[in-house]
């Protein structure tokens, strides 16, 4: 069967040359639509090490943006929860109370309690932002809140080092100072990332829960006295 015959079988009374014009017009837009979504690199045939390192570098650059909060799009546009998970696990491991020896019990939170405070706390703060009508997606906000724990983790490391040096009035003041700096830093970085997401007359209502969230975690950090 030839081409001419098929056409004639289906559309007997239609002029084939007229149809040829409309075919090209209708088929063109669908082929151009597929283009913008496709990425220009292919991760299927690259070594696993490269894939892994690319993700690690992405997380690392976000940490850098938190510690030096100047440019806000990296954290907001490509959010991930790897950084918050790492930070939260690290904090929970260090902050957890010693439950084995009850005489030595420092009354600190359990591992799971730190986890719950960080994740549920971040979710409640995010939900608050959404309920007030903020223009930010749920996971963007959880990502920012989690990454901005970075200064407090640094403060926690400093506190642990100071605790090993000794535990007296002077060392306590040093711990307090380290935590205060971490707290201010974390709050400032979060404002920088999320400050614009609310209308002016509700900004304070959205910012206060973030302040409270970091304040509570700072309290855990400065109260931690179990080496």
């Amino acid at each position: 069967m030839t081409d001419e015959q098929t056409k004639l079988d289906i559309f007997e009374d239609v002029d084939s040359s007229a149809l040829a014009g409309s075919m090209t017009v209708s088929s063109k837009p669908s082929s151009t639509k597929a283009q913008p979504g496709a990425s220009d690199f292919n991760s299927l045939d690259e070594p696993i090490k490269e894939t892994f390192l690319r993700d690690v570098r992405a997380v690392g650059s976000k940490f850098k943006h938190v510690l030096y909060p100047k440019e806000k799009n990296t954290l907001l546009k490509s959010w991930d929860l790897w950084g918050p998970l790492v930070l939260c696990t690290f904090m929970a491991t260090i902050l957890q109370g010693n439950t084995e020896n009850s005489r030595n019990n420092d009354g600190g939170p359990e591992f799971a309690e730190v986890f719950v405070i960080v994740w549920i706390g971040a979710m409640i703060v995010t939900l608050n932002t959404k309920l007030l009508g903020g223009q930010i997606s749920f996971f963007q906000s959880v990502c920012v809140l989690g990454y901005c724990l970075m200064p407090l983790v640094l403060a926690l490391i400093a506190c642990t080092v100071i605790l090993r040096l000794g535990n007296s009035y002077v060392f306590f003041i040093m711990r307090l100072a380290a935590t205060t700096i971490g707290f201010i830093w974390a709050t400032y970085a979060t404002m920088n990332f999320m400050g614009d997401s609310q209308p002016k007359n509700r900004k304070a209502l959205a910012v206060y829960p973030m302040f409270l969230f970091y304040f509570i975690i700072s309290w855990l950090v400065v109260s931690h006295s179990n080496v």
Partner: protein
């Protein structure tokens, strides 16, 4: 089959038909009807928009409500009906309760530290759970009790004009929760000041805080309470519960003798538990 046949069979966009369909959807003029009745659209309670109506509030209004909850006589008698009842928010109650839970836990630890004055001291994180249990129960249970007593004992059948400001009115459960949440705001600075270890000052703070916010509570709820036959009972209940909440926290966490005995108790129970564990295991 050739490509020419494939193209013949491919779908085409019929622009003219799409346009005409849109016109037919828009043509029934329903817009003026919607504008005439300002009823809120029905939103399912599983959507975030349903909860946004409880957070529809500005910074200035929150500050205003907090101030109103602390200054007696600043809020008018119809405050509950004309302000809280119209737009009850949950932002204030939720964050005030959360803040109070953590200020009590943090300053309770601080008071304990000041009493011991020892750098080998260890903090007690679990005050957070005790404080949150008490405060959440208070904020949820008390409004529910007041609301159900009013619902049960007030008869609204008399045919007075409901539009009048003085007309009998039973506040909704949500607006009583809102009122109670804001009434806790005065205890936040009070709980911070409780860390000062002077017994007299602590009692002054308890009485002052309970009087300031308790009198606002009673003053605002008064128009509805008066309608009930248990009005005296309700007033005494509201005032004493508000006072007991403050006095309880102060005696338990901040007061010198009671706090130290509490610690001895906890150490003793710990040892009992350990000996029991050793015997069984």
């Amino acid at each position: 089959m050739s490509s020419a046949t494939g193209d013949l069979l491919a779908f085409k966009d019929y622009d003219d038909f799409a346009d005409s369909a849109q016109i037919s959807v828009n043509s029934p003029k329903k817009v003026p009807q919607n504008e005439s009745e300002p009823s809120t659209p029905k939103v399912s309670m599983f959507q975030i928009e349903f909860y946004q109506q409880f957070f529809n509030i500005d910074t200035a209004e929150v500050v205003e409500r907090i101030v109103n909850s602390m200054y007696p006589k600043r809020a008018t008698a119809s405050y509950l009906k004309t302000n809280l009842g119209v737009n009850p928010d949950l932002y204030g109650p939720f964050w005030i309760a959360t803040t109070l839970i953590f200020t009590i836990a943090i300053s309770g630890n601080l008071a304990d530290f000041l009493q011991k004055d020892d750098f080998k001291w260890h903090y007690n994180f679990h005050l957070v759970s005790y404080a949150s249990t008490c405060i959440i129960l208070y904020v949820c249970l008390m409004p529910f009790v007041i609301w159900s007593v009013l619902k049960y004992s007030v008869d609204l059948s008399d045919d007075s004009n409901p539009d009048l400001e003085s007309a009998p009115y039973i506040p909704s459960l949500l607006s009583i929760v809102c009122l109670y949440g804001y009434s806790l705001a005065v205890y936040i600075p009070v709980s911070v000041l409780w860390t000062i270890q002077i017994s007299f000052l602590q009692w002054v703070l308890v009485l002052g805080g309970a009087f300031l916010s308790g009198s606002v509570l009673i003053n605002v709820l008064m128009p509805s309470i008066k309608l009930s036959k248990y009005s005296l009972f309700l007033i005494i209940g509201i005032a004493s519960a508000h006072f007991i909440l403050a006095a309880g926290f102060m005696l338990w966490l901040f007061h010198v003798p009671s706090s130290s005995s509490h610690h001895i108790d906890s150490v003793v129970t710990h040892e009992i538990i350990i000996s029991a564990q050793n015997q069984t295991g």
